[in-house]
């Protein structure tokens, strides 16, 4: 339930890749009643360091608490509160759409417009791969929904802070 004053926010976390660290983070947030919309995690180029990107909702007070509570965890090296910096974010979605005789061309037109790719073909369905920021994924989904989305798997957001422009 989104309450007025609640905002969606992206938080980046750099953690030591030890067993259970993701469970600790997710457990911390769910235990305190904070909402996790999406979460992605993967190792970085530095051995033993994992970057986690979280999308959560809450008002400013809740978000400040979340950031502080995350900072308190022993295996967390750094928390990036993206309320305070510009950032680049991308996510990838695999979308299985109905692709009958009548609609196939329209699907391919949409794929072209959004620079997506068809990664699976069958007599009745195409599976598309599309990468972009949140807005782009939402937009293509809305269009494809009118044709008929059968299944969808999204990765959730990965984000990095923009570099300083000097």
């Amino acid at each position: 339930m989104i309450v007025t004053g609640d905002k969606r926010h992206t938080i980046g976390i750099l953690v030591q890749n030890v067993p259970g660290v993701l469970a600790r983070i997710v457990g911390l947030l769910s235990g305190r009643g904070y909402n996790i919309e999406t979460v992605t995690a993967a190792e970085t180029n530095e051995k033993g360091l994992t970057r986690i990107t979280l999308v959560t909702t809450g008002d400013d007070r809740v978000l400040s608490q979340i950031v502080k509570q995350l900072n308190k965890l022993v295996n967390i090296i750094k928390v990036f509160d993206f309320r305070e910096t510009e950032f680049v974010d991308r996510e990838m979605a695999l979308i299985k759409v109905r692709a009958e005789q009548a609609t196939r061309a329209e699907v391919l037109r949409i794929v072209d417009i959004f620079r997506a790719k068809v990664v699976d073909v069958s007599p009745h369905f195409y599976t598309l791969e599309v990468t972009g920021n949140e807005g782009k994924i939402t937009a293509i989904m809305e269009l494809l929904e009118q044709i008929g989305i059968v299944e969808i798997a999204r990765t959730g957001k990965a984000a990095l802070a923009r570099s300083k422009k000097h």
Binding site: K68, N71, V74, I76
Partner: protein, 572 residues
């Protein structure tokens, strides 16, 4: 030279200066117990693992050192969860070693297997499952470091049986390297100065001190700063003892400390609750503005600018919006403030604040803590007062949870830190008796008294065996009203006297029970029996149960009803 995991464990404990372990064996830890016999470390065998956890906790709170307990896998580990959560809520440094099934069996629902790391994740400061014996020394060093630094807390170290049996080279690390853990101890001098300027100019200041003063061992600094600022002091339950309730009267006796307001909050004193509600500046040190203290948050201290000092940034502006947040060690922040106060002495503070102190005195006279003594029956508050008188206030007091706990906070005058050990955050019945045992182990020559209710004492009564067998001479004062007193009070005040579930029918004969365990049992049923009984009990060199038959219909006042502002106290 190759050591087994069990040997590494004991060598590491020795390096950490551990001299006592509270424990209970089982299959998963027999290798550890076999190794224990070869080392010079005291082991106290408990009768329930919950007792071991609370004993480690009581030992830690009384001494300031890290408490250690050792239990087996499965049910042994799960039995410590309440004790771990208790320590977590009150920021107590303990390390809990749990046995675990051999690593190849983990995750297969083996005999006496539980995912104790998963179960305790939300209620530990941190935890480790040791899968590689080569990391054991480092894990133990980190565990103790984490337990005692920053905001202290419980650490669980899960030890699979094959890891304990495996061999490794042992070199205890000289330092820890934890890039993700850097507690801020140094308070920001700019913030400290901002706070000091506010306090200097305040017309109606209040200092609100808590458990953080005791943990950071800064009672002396607090007393010095209070004198320089000329401000009255109140405490949370966890802070009692950080500021003396009584001071020498110059004639060889003691008098009430003129700066002491009494405890704050749901069962705090009238003058403390009124003072904080009318304050213009509050210096909050080592507290977390728990709901027992604030009452209805929207009406808490409406006129005050709040300075909040704490080592844990998550506690600052969590419940109550703060004007000057200061993250850092309380001792460090107080020292900085003292330096400022001494270099910029404020003249005439005593005069400018005299009307504030007069107002406080008026409040204290309007509604002092009181109860009606009735000739024939024992009032529970009377027992607490006599415990204070007969002990001379020179004792370590533990409590269980409920009315007796609140009366202890109100009627026993605590002057020194680490003299009240009580489960404030979790409110765990059954805490006080094992905690008293742990405290007595830390201080064999001090008078240690557990003030208990008849409900609470039955929760870990089996530890009477631990006390008797190890000659741990704790004194237990059972405030026996045959009810769960605090639920009964709430039912009387807020649930139309519906006493469902709060009557403890068929209470045991506590005197016979004590004697059955080999301890001394004493009983008082009339007021004139109380003082002689206490004197007798305190002189016995062994554990004593005292059964005080008190009246049931007695309520803790003041009480701030649920959802109300702390100025809306119900009074006696």
């Amino acid at each position: 030279m190759k050591f087994t995991g069990a040997q590494i464990l004991f060598e590491s404990l020795k390096k950490e200066g551990v001299d006592v372990i509270f424990g209970f064996p089982g299959g998963a830890v027999l290798d550890i117990y076999h190794e224990m016999s070869k080392h010079n470390i005291r082991h106290i065998l408990v009768r329930h693992e919950q007792g071991a956890a609370h004993m480690a906790d009581g030992y830690a709170r009384a001494s300031g050192r890290v408490g250690v307990c050792l239990v087996t896998s499965g049910p042994g580990a799960t039995n410590t969860v309440t004790g771990i959560a208790t320590a977590n809520m009150d920021s107590v440094p303990i390390v809990v070693f749990t046995g675990q099934v051999p690593t190849p069996l983990i995750g297969d629902d083996a005999f006496q297997e539980v995912d104790i790391i998963g179960i305790t994740r939300p209620c530990t400061k941190h935890s480790y499952l040791v899968r590689d014996v080569n990391t054991l020394g480092t894990v133990i060093k980190e565990a103790f470091y984490l337990a005692r630094t920053g905001r202290p807390g419980p650490i669980v170290v899960d030890l699979p049986k094959d890891v304990i049996q495996a061999h490794a080279d042992f070199r205890y690390p000289k330092k820890v390297d934890m890039p993700g853990y850097r507690p801020t101890m140094e308070a920001h001098s700019g913030q400290v100065n901002k706070a000091f300027q506010l306090l200097k100019k305040a017309k109606a200041p209040v200092v609100f001190a808590g458990g953080g003063i005791i943990i950071s061992e800064s009672s002396d600094e607090l007393a010095r700063l209070v004198k320089l600022l000329h401000a009255p002091v109140t405490c949370s339950l966890m802070g009692l003892g950080c500021f003396p309730a009584t001071v020498p009267d110059g004639k060889g006796g003691m008098k009430p400390n003129p700066f002491w307001l009494g405890m704050l909050g749901m069962h705090g004193t009238y003058q403390a609750n009124m003072a904080i509600s009318h304050a213009d500046v509050i210096l909050a040190v080592g507290v977390r503005f728990d709901d027992r203290v604030t009452g209805q948050i929207s009406t808490f201290a409406p006129k005050a600018k709040i300075v909040h000092v704490d080592v844990d940034p998550t506690s600052i502006s969590k419940n109550v919006d703060v004007d000057v947040p200061i993250v850092g060690d309380c001792k460090n922040a107080l020292k900085q403030m003292i330096q400022l106060a001494e270099s910029e002495p404020a003249e005439g503070l005593a005069e400018s604040r005299s009307s504030w102190f007069e107002q406080i005195g008026q409040w204290a006279r309007q509604h002092p803590l009181s109860y009606c003594a009735e000739g024939d029956v024992i009032k529970p508050q009377y027992v607490i007062e006599q415990i204070y008188e007969v002990s001379g206030g020179d004792a370590i007091i533990t409590t269980e949870v409920g009315q007796h706990q609140m009366w202890t906070a109100q009627f026993f005058k605590f002057n020194r830190p680490r003299t009240l050990l009580t489960s404030g955050g979790l409110g765990t019945m059954g805490y006080g008796f094992p905690a008293a045992i742990g405290a007595q182990v830390a201080f064999p020559d001090k008078l240690v008294i557990d003030i208990a209710g008849d409900g609470s004492i039955q929760m870990n009564i089996q530890e009477l065996s631990t006390a008797v067998c190890n000659n741990i001479p704790v004194k237990v004062a059972i405030i026996n009203n045959t009810y769960l007193g605090l639920p009964r009070q709430w039912q009387e005040l807020f649930y139309e006297k519906d006493y469902t579930g709060s009557c403890l029918e068929g209470p045991p004969d506590f005197v016979k029970l004590a004697e059955a365990y080999g301890a001394v049992g004493l009983r008082a049923e009339r007021p004139e029996e109380v003082t002689p009984l206490l004197k007798k009990a305190f002189s016995i060199k062994g554990p004593v149960f005292m059964d005080f038959r008190v009246v049931t219909e007695e309520n803790v006042y003041p009480i701030v009803p649920p959802g109300k502002s702390i100025t809306e106290m119900l009074l006696a």
